[in-house]
C-alpha cells in the first residue's frame, strides 16, 4: 500500500468506530507502513498476488510446512481482536495470543529487538488494511515437530529476548544500523550460520548459511568472503537497486530487494552498511589451488569459452550488469551450492524500478558435465586472488540431481 492510500485510509479511520486505530496519528501509521516494509512481513504473510497480509502462504522448513497467519484486522481469523500487549508479546517473546509458542520460522528471535512503540506503529498500519476472512492453520508440521511445547526447550537454548540496547561507544548511525539489521530487517535469519536444530551457532554471526538451495553468503566486514571491500554507498546501492559493481541479487535475496530494501530510506541503508562493515570476524583464507592443477587448467579453458564474455577475463564483470567473481562472497562461500546452482540452471537477477534490467545468466547445465562444472567452480574460487576449497564432481552430481527432482 502506498503513502497516498494510507492517507486516504487514515482519513476514513479518524471517523471510524475502530477505537484503537482512530486514536493513532497519521505519522505513526506511515512509520508503521515503512517499518512493515523493513520487516518484509509481506514475504511470508501475503500470498503472491493475494490480499495484503491475509496469510495462507506456506513456508518450507527443514522440519516440514508452516503456514503464515492472517494479520489483517479481521476479528475472527485475523488479529483484529488482539490487544496491543498480545501483539507486542508475539513479536518480542515468540508467544501467540493464546499463550502458545510460535515457531522460529517467524523470526521473533530478531524481532525481539524491536522497540515497543515501533511495534505499535506496525500494528497501527496493519489495522488500516482491509480485513480479510481467512482462517489459517499455521502448524502443519509432522509429528513430533507439531508439538509446540518443545519450543520451550529450543527457546531456552537459542533465544535471548530483549529490546535492542544501543552501544554508547558507537555512533547514532551505527546503532540505527544495528537496530535495523539485527531487528526488523532480520538479516541474521538467513545470514547467521545455524546448527541442525535451526538455532544460531555461537560463532556464526553473519558468516553465512545455505537455505532453499541457495547460499546466503557471509556479510561480515571482512575483506575475504565478507563485504569489507564494498563501500557503504555500494552496500546501500545493492540493497536499493539489487546490484552494485560487485554483485547482483538473485534467488531469495532478489525477493528481499523487491519487497523490502528497495523501498528503504537511503540513510537507513547506509546505517546498516556502517554496522555490517564493523562486524569483523575470523574468516580464514584457505591456501589457493595451484594454477597448474589439472582442474584449474580445464577450468581456465572452460572460463574463457563460456564465461569471460560477461564476467570478463579479469573476473570483475561489468558494473551493474554482470557480478564480479573476484572477491565475491557467493563464489567464495565455503558451501559452493550457489556457484554450482547458478552454472547449471542460470539465474535471474532482481529488477527494480531504479534498475529494471534484471540481467539473467543463461543456463549451462545442458552444455557442461559434472566434472566440467566442478573444474570451472574450482577455477573461479581460486583465481584473481580468490582462494576457497575445491569443488568435487560428486558434489555437483548430487546437486544436479536435487535440482532436477524439484520441479
Amino acid at each position: 500500500m502506498n503513502k497516498a492510500a494510507v492517507t486516504a485510509m487514515c482519513g476514513a479511520l479518524i471517523l471510524s468506530p475502530l477505537a484503537d486505530a482512530a486514536n493513532t496519528f497519521f505519522p505513526d501509521i506511515e512509520k508503521g507502513r515503512y517499518l512493515t516494509t523493513v520487516g518484509d512481513c509481506a514475504a511470508c504473510h501475503t500470498v503472491e498476488n493475494g490480499p495484503s497480509m491475509a496469510g495462507g502462504r506456506a513456508i518450507e522448513t527443514p522440519f516440514g510446512k508452516l503456514v503464515a497467519p492472517n494479520l489483517t484486522p479481521d476479528r475472527e481469523t485475523g488479529i483484529g481482536a488482539w490487544t496491543d500487549d498480545q501483539f507486542v508479546r508475539a513479536l518480542q517473546q515468540g508467544i501467540g495470543h493464546e499463550g502458545e509458542y510460535l515457531y522460529g520460522a517467524f523470526p521473533y528471535t530478531a524481532y525481539t529487538k524491536v522497540k515497543r512503540d515501533d511495534l505499535l506503529a506496525i500494528r497501527a498500519y496493519l489495522a488500516t488494511l482491509p480485513p480479510v476472512h481467512n482462517k489459517v492453520v499455521a502448524n502443519q508440521l509432522p509429528f513430533p515437530f507439531n508439538i509446540r511445547t518443545s519450543l520451550m526447550g529450543w527457546n531456552m537454548m537459542f533465544f535471548t529476548p530483549g529490546e535492542f540496547q544501543p552501544d554508547p561507544a558507537k555512533t547514532e548511525k551505527w546503532n540505527r544500523g544495528a537496530y535495523l539489521a539485527e531487528g526488523l530487517a532480520h538479516c541474521g535469519t538467513c545470514h547467521n550460520s545455524k546448527n541442525f536444530l535451526g538455532g544460531d551457532t555461537s560463532d556464526g554471526h553473519l558468516k553465512g548459511y545455505t537455505l532453499q538451495g541457495w547460499v546466503a553468503p557471509a556479510i561480515t566486514g571482512d575483506d575475504y568472503r565478507g563485504i569489507g571491500l564494498w563501500s557503504e554507498e555500494e552496500i546501500a546501492e545493492y540493497l536499493k537497486t539489487g546490484r552494485n559493481r560487485h554483485a547482483a541479487a538473485s534467488g531469495p535475496m532478489a525477493e528481499v530487494v523487491t519487497n523490502s530494501t528497495q523501498f528503504m530510506e537511503n540513510t537507513d541503508l547506509l546505517a546498516i552498511a556502517d554496522y555490517l562493515k564493523d562486524q569483523k570476524s575470523d574468516l580464514q583464507r584457505p591456501p589457493k589451488l595451484d594454477a597448474q592443477d589439472p582442474r584449474m587448467v580445464a577450468g581456465k579453458a572452460l572460463y574463457t569459452d563460456n564465461c569471460s564474455a560477461c564476467h570478463m577475463s579479469n573476473g570483475e564483470g561489468v558494473a551493474k550488469l554482470f557480478p564480479s567473481l573476484k572477491n565475491s562472497g557467493s563464489v567464495l562461500a565455503e558451501d559452493p551450492t550457489t556457484v554450482i546452482r547458478v552454472i547449471l540452471q542460470g539465474a535471474q537477477a532482481v529488477a527494480t524500478d531504479a534498475a529494471p534490467t534484471g540481467p539473467s545468466m543463461p543456463s549451462f547445465g545442458w552444455r557442461l558435465d559434472d566434472t566440467q562444472v566442478a573444474a570451472l567452480a574450482t577455477y573461479l574460487r581460486n583465481t584473481w586472488g580468490n582462494a576457497a576449497e575445491e569443488v568435487s564432481t560428486a558434489t555437483v552430481k548430487t546437486q544436479r540431481m536435487d535440482l532436477a527432482s524439484k520441479p
Binding site: P294, A309, S360, S363, W366, R367
Partner: protein
C-alpha cells in the same frame, strides 16, 4: 544434454489452419503482464540436439554409399583436412533431410505450382528431402547408363570428377526432368554446410574445417583482441559441445 522439456523443436501443423514454427523456451506463455518479473525459468535453453553418427535416419544403404562418395569427391582428403566423408558431411546431410529443413518446414509448399522465372526462385512442389532422393536416383541412373552399369561410388576419382563437372556446367541431362545443375548446386551447398557448420550437427568432425581456416568457432569474447591488428589469433576452435581442453587431464 538437458531435459527434453526444454528442447522445443519446430512444431508444424500442416494444413489450412495454424502453421506454426516456434523457437522460444516460452512456447506456451502467450499473455505476459506488465508489473511482473520478466518471464524466466531455471534451465531454460533450447540447444541443438547431439547427433549419433551411427544412426542413419534418411538415406538407404545405397544412398549412403553414393552420398559418401559424392562428398568425398567434392572435398577430397589432403594435408589440409580429411575428406568430406571422414568429416561427416554425409551424416550431416542425412540428419538434415529427415529433420524439419529437409521436410520443408520453412517452405511455402501450397499450390498452385507453376514454373517461374529465375528471379522468382524455386517453385517446386517437392520438399528438399524429396528433391534430394529424386536427384540422387537420377544421378545414379545416369552413372549406370554412362559407365557400363557402375554406380557413382564405383567410379574412379577422375570419372567422378567429370560427372560432377558435367552437372555443374549443365552438360549432363538427368532423367525425370531433374535439373542437374540445380541439383548439383543444392548438393554442394549442403556439403559445404556440413563441412563448415558446428560439429554438433554431424559434420565438421573434431572441428577439422575450422582448424584449417583458423576460425575459432563458437566463441563470444574477443575483447582482448580487437586492437591486435594483423596478429594470429592463438586459441584453438571450440564447438557448442566444447573442445578437448575442457577435459580434466588426470
Amino acid at each position: 544434454m538437458s531435459d527434453d522439456r526444454f528442447q522445443i523443436s519446430r512444431r508444424q501443423l500442416l494444413g489450412a489452419g495454424a502453421l506454426i514454427a516456434v523457437s522460444s523456451s516460452f512456447a506456451n506463455a502467450a499473455t505476459i503482464l506488465g508489473g511482473s518479473p520478466l518471464p524466466w525459468a531455471p534451465d531454460a535453453a533450447a540447444p541443438p540436439k547431439n547427433i549419433d553418427p551411427h544412426n542413419w535416419t534418411f538415406f538407404s544403404e545405397r544412398e549412403r554409399v553414393q552420398v559418401e562418395a559424392l562428398v568425398e569427391t567434392l572435398i577430397p582428403a589432403d594435408q589440409l583436412s580429411p575428406s568430406g566423408k571422414d568429416a561427416g558431411c554425409a551424416v550431416y546431410i542425412d540428419r538434415q533431410m529427415s529433420g524439419p529443413q529437409g521436410q520443408g518446414a520453412r517452405l511455402y509448399l501450397q499450390g498452385p505450382f507453376a514454373k517461374g522465372l529465375p528471379t522468382q526462385g524455386p517453385q517446386s512442389a517437392m520438399t528438399p528431402a524429396e528433391q534430394m532422393r529424386v536427384g540422387l536416383a537420377a544421378l545414379e541412373w545416369h552413372c549406370v547408363s554412362a559407365f557400363s552399369g557402375r554406380r557413382f561410388a564405383e567410379l574412379s576419382v577422375e570419372e567422378r570428377e567429370s560427372v560432377l563437372h558435367g552437372l555443374e556446367d549443365g552438360h549432363i541431362d538427368l532423367p525425370n526432368d531433374v535439373d542437374g545443375k540445380a541439383f548439383f548446386d543444392v548438393f554442394l551447398s549442403r556439403t559445404m554446410e556440413g563441412f563448415f557448420a558446428d560439429p554438433i550437427y554431424g559434420g565438421n568432425r573434431d572441428m577439422v574445417s575450422w582448424t584449417m581456416l583458423g576460425y575459432p568457432g563458437a566463441r563470444y569474447d574477443y575483447l582482448d583482441w580487437i586492437d591486435r591488428h594483423n596478429e594470429t589469433y592463438p586459441h584453438p576452435p571450440v564447438s557448442i559441445s566444447g573442445r578437448p581442453d575442457w577435459k580434466v587431464k588426470a
